[in-house]
């Protein structure tokens, strides 16, 4: 294979892998034992405010600040690891920009190495998938009586279909209408809170279908945590953060069917398995890699 085509292929395989990895971490939830926080038919005692929906308009990797070493993310496992504890497979946690310790975001430490090889194309590939309608993640905040402060709200995450319209600034315009994805998995979280206009919710099980180039699969993000600023100027994208753990093998299985991908699987396996820090098993191996993605979301509608 010539160098440039190979590099191009490597870019999207890596992008898929990194994206998939970033959309997961932690928890102890397996298919056999779903966590109590997750429910496909939730029962909530929350209020009955009108649903408000958003489309994730940008999705980007979080990066470690070179000067401070800080990074955005969540403390997914509830512990602060200094790199010596076995439960985190000896992966040192980070400190967030707000000073929170114990941030689990091992994927962030991989980004500089990946970008050293690939340039800055990874974020662009993901954004391209969003803009082209291949990665349209729809968030619906439900039961919120007050978008400024509310102690009991729900969140539904699903995929939608459509071709977003971009503004002249290249950003997806707000208030667009999308069609339901009949084949998309629906993730639901309950018991979230809105404090000073910011929604925080989780952990919950999050399913995200990915479709980039000729690869399409669903990533399951375990014990996902999510926060999103809901208030602000109408039509202006709201900032948020999504974190959780993903099982490397699920990513590898997902990208493997892609044309010409198999030759990169060993590299990807090495990278991802070497970064796992969550959900240690009886043999002392961590099953998931922690990650966090920064997002922006714009108000949107589901076609009635």
């Amino acid at each position: 294979m010539a160098f440039l085509p190979m590099l191009k292929k490597l870019r999207y395989v890596a992008a898929l892998g990194m994206l998939a990895a970033s959309l997961a971490p932690i928890g102890g939830c397996t298919d056999e034992e779903p966590p109590p926080e997750t429910s496909t038919a939730p029962v909530s005692q929350c209020g009955g405010g009108a649903p408000k929906s958003f489309l994730i308009s940008t999705l980007g990797f979080t990066r470690i600040d070179e000067t401070t070493g800080k990074v955005k993310g969540f403390n997914l496992d509830g512990v602060v690891s200094d790199g010596t504890d076995e439960a985190s497979c000896f992966k040192k946690d980070f400190v967030s920009f707000s000073g929170e310790k114990g941030v689990d975001n091992q994927l962030a430490s991989l980004i500089p190495d990946v970008e050293a090889i690939l340039g800055d194309a990874v974020d662009g590939l993901i954004q391209g998938a969003i803009n082209n309608g291949g990665l349209l993640i729809f968030l619906t905040v439900e039961r919120a009586d007050n978008l400024q402060n509310d102690d009991c709200v729900d969140l539904t995450v699903t995929t939608v279909l459509g071709k977003p319209t971009l503004g002249t600034n290249g950003v997806i315009e707000a208030y667009q209408t999308f069609d339901p994805d009949p084949e998309g998995e629906v993730s639901h979280a309950t018991g979230g809170k809105i404090v000073n206009g910011e929604l925080t919710i989780g952990p919950f099980e999050l399913a995200i279908p990915i479709a980039i180039f000729d690869v399409a699969f669903t990533i399951h993000v375990h014990d996902a945590l999510f926060k999103l600023k809901l208030t602000g100027e109408d039509g202006v994208a709201k900032e948020g953060l999504l974190g959780g753990g993903v099982v490397p093998q699920e990513i590898l299985d997902g990208v493997a069917p892609g044309a010409g991908v198999d030759q990169y699987i060993p590299v990807l396996t090495l990278v991802l398995n070497g970064s796992t820090d969550l959900e240690i098993d009886e043999e002392g191996t961590c099953q998931q890699v922690s990650a966090a993605l920064q997002i922006t979301a714009v108000e949107a509608f589901l076609r009635p």
């Binding site: 459509g162 319209t165 503004g167 002249t168 600034n169 950003v171 315009e173 707000a174 208030y175 667009q176 209408t177 069609d179 100027e233 109408d234 039509g235 108000e299 509608f301 589901l302 076609r303 009635p304």
Partner: protein, 559 residues
């Protein structure tokens, strides 16, 4: 069919050729004389419609606008016939192309374009057997079948020229058909030359209004039957009369107001009436300018080239639905919370798009103060600057176009620039304060800016905003003594303004007659406006009343 122009068939007689028609004055004379010659049978003049004052009517010869030309060709030869894009440009006068067309001449280039169009249309018009059968009422025995040529010219000529052809006209045009048929060896190719001659003639390109004797008219003239057929169809269809209307003219019915009303009612039930009304609204609000809507994309990120046309369609659907489907008070177009959107407009109005493609009706969100025409993107984006909103432009349209108020043009040497935003003057209200406080500026700007400032919650492309440069927008104001707190109240204030209905009546009257009204028309327009109000401001009733009003029925001396 071979290309007629390259075959050089015998040229049509000069009466039908462009050397004569290239002079607009001469063309007018020709058209007028032809019209007079064809309308010799003068009937007893009917009394004017009850309750409507008589007027000082006008005469002339409005040229077909581009839209009228295209519509006429569509109705004469079928929708499949493509009219070349290049035609003599329309000229708008007093806000209407129909008025401009009544007073503008044809340029030499325009003459050439009409000639090219005529041949292009003629070539398509007889290109299939079905078309030949539809247009030629006989089976030609040979390429020079004179009897068939005369029948063809008489039949089609009546529809194209909107009146029966005089005997010498039939003879001359039949000679064109048979002469070309002989040269080309085919009757239908000769007939195509006959079509081209018909389409280049002043009797097609102009709508002469000469009139005939009427002792009850101030000028002593009324429109002839065929003149009325044309005036009626171009008003209500923006196109040429159909056979039924020409038949009514032939029976001499169209000098009777009752018969005119009956025909007008029939025309209004035809889909072409909707298209014609849309054409009126387009000219009334200058919505044609939305095709070239240009906004700074670095400021207005929601701007796209398809925004203007989509916004125009929204407004036209609102007017059309109100006038023809709901048939309710036209003033409700200013306060309606319902509108028609496509996906793009839906996102800008912050409502879910009901359909992935095309337009559908929606209810605007209750928490955004957007109502009716003044809240539509067409109005808000058209009457704004490329980089900002404009209280002056928006206010001027409301004042002058919607309420028929007089606003003199700004002095030649006046500086119209307003200060840039600053911490002390963030909003447009703060920045235009100088206009409203300086007596030199205020005399005019007080008539416009307070209205436009009521729409400042909408930016230069019509998106809602609560703030401007970080400062909360104050959209309150007053219009002729009626205070409003924001755009919704402004919408109701305009809707309830006593000048709105009379002004709309005046605009439709101008459009219908193709002439700028004279002072003597004021009483008639006021009477029409009163009937409009009495009928609940229903547009179709207004159209019918105008079609049977003295200003529409009577003819007079040329201005």
């Amino acid at each position: 069919m071979t290309k007629p122009r390259t075959l050089r068939a015998p040229p049509p007689p000069k009466r039908f050729g462009w050397p004569l028609a290239s002079s607009s004055c001469l063309a007018l004379l020709l058209a007028v004389s032809a019209a007079v010659g064809a309308c010799a049978d003068i009937e007893e003049a009917p009394p004017p419609p009850p309750n409507l004052p008589t007027v000082a009517p006008q005469s002339g010869a409005p040229r077909l606008s581009i839209a009228q030309y295209r519509n006429a060709v569509r109705d004469l030869f079928g929708a499949s016939v493509v009219v070349p894009a290049a035609l003599e440009p329309d000229t708008s006068l007093s806000g209407f192309v129909s008025i401009g067309s009544a007073q503008s001449a044809i340029s030499p280039r325009g003459v050439e374009q009409y000639e090219e169009a005529a041949y292009a249309i003629a070539e398509q018009a007889l290109s299939t057997q079905a078309q030949k059968a539809a247009l030629v009422p006989c089976t030609p025995k040979n390429p020079t079948d004179e009897e068939c040529a005369r029948a063809f010219v008489e039949t089609l000529g009546r529809r194209v020229w909107r009146r029966p052809l005089a005997g010498d006209e039939v003879t001359q045009l039949a000679a064109v058909v048979t002469g070309a048929g002989k040269t080309l060896g085919d009757f239908y190719q000769g007939a195509a030359f006959g079509i081209a001659a018909l389409l280049q003639a002043p009797s097609f390109l102009y709508r002469p209004i000469v009139g005939e004797a009427d002792s009850t008219s101030p000028s002593g003239k009324r429109l002839s039957n065929y003149e009325m057929a044309s005036r009626l169809s171009f008003f209500l269809w923006n196109s040429t009369p159909d056979d039924a209307l020409l038949d009514a003219a032939e029976r001499g019915e169209l000098t009777q107001p009752q018969a005119v009303r009956r025909e007008a009612e029939r025309l209004l039930e035809d889909p072409r009436a909707r298209l014609a009304f849309r054409n009126f609204v387009t000219e009334y609000l200058r919505l044609d300018l939305l095709d070239a809507l240009s906004k700074d994309p670095t400021i207005f990120t929601y701007y796209s080239p398809d925004l203007g046309p989509a916004a125009r369609e929204e407004t036209l659907l609102n007017f059309e639905t109100l006038a023809f489907d709901r048939q309710t008070d036209f003033r409700d177009v200013f306060i309606s919370q319902r509108t028609f959107v496509n996906s793009k407009l839906a996102s800008m109005y912050q409502v879910a798009a009901p359909a992935a493609d095309g337009f559908a009706e929606v209810t605007l969100p209750a928490d955004v103060p957007r109502r009716g025409l003044l809240g539509q993107i067409s109005f808000l984006s058209l009457y704004a600057h490329p980089t900002s909103s404009s209280a002056t432009l928006r206010g001027k349209v409301v004042r002058s176009v919607l309420l028929c108020g007089e606003i003199p043009p700004p002095p030649v040497d006046v500086n119209t620039a307003i200060p840039e935003p600053s911490p002390n003057a963030a909003t447009l209200r703060d920045r235009v304060k100088i206009h409203l406080e300086d007596p030199f500026c205020a005399s005019c700007h007080l008539k416009m800016d307070p209205i436009g400032l009521g729409l400042e919650n909408f930016d230069g492309i019509g998106r809602y905003r609560a703030t401007d440069n970080g400062a909360t927008i104050d959209a309150s104001g007053e219009l002729d003594g009626a205070e409003f707190g924001g755009p919704v109240e402004l919408a109701y204030t305009v809707r309830n303004h006593p000048d709105l209905g009379p002004c709309f009546t005046r605009r439709v009257y101008q459009y219908a007659t193709s002439f700028v009204e004279k002072a003597a028309d004021d009483d008639a327009i006021a009477a029409l406006a009163a009937r409009f109000e009495a009928n609940g401001f229903k547009v179709k009733d207004l159209l019918l009343d105008i079609a049977t009003s003295p200003g529409f029925l009577l003819a007079g001396e040329a201005p």
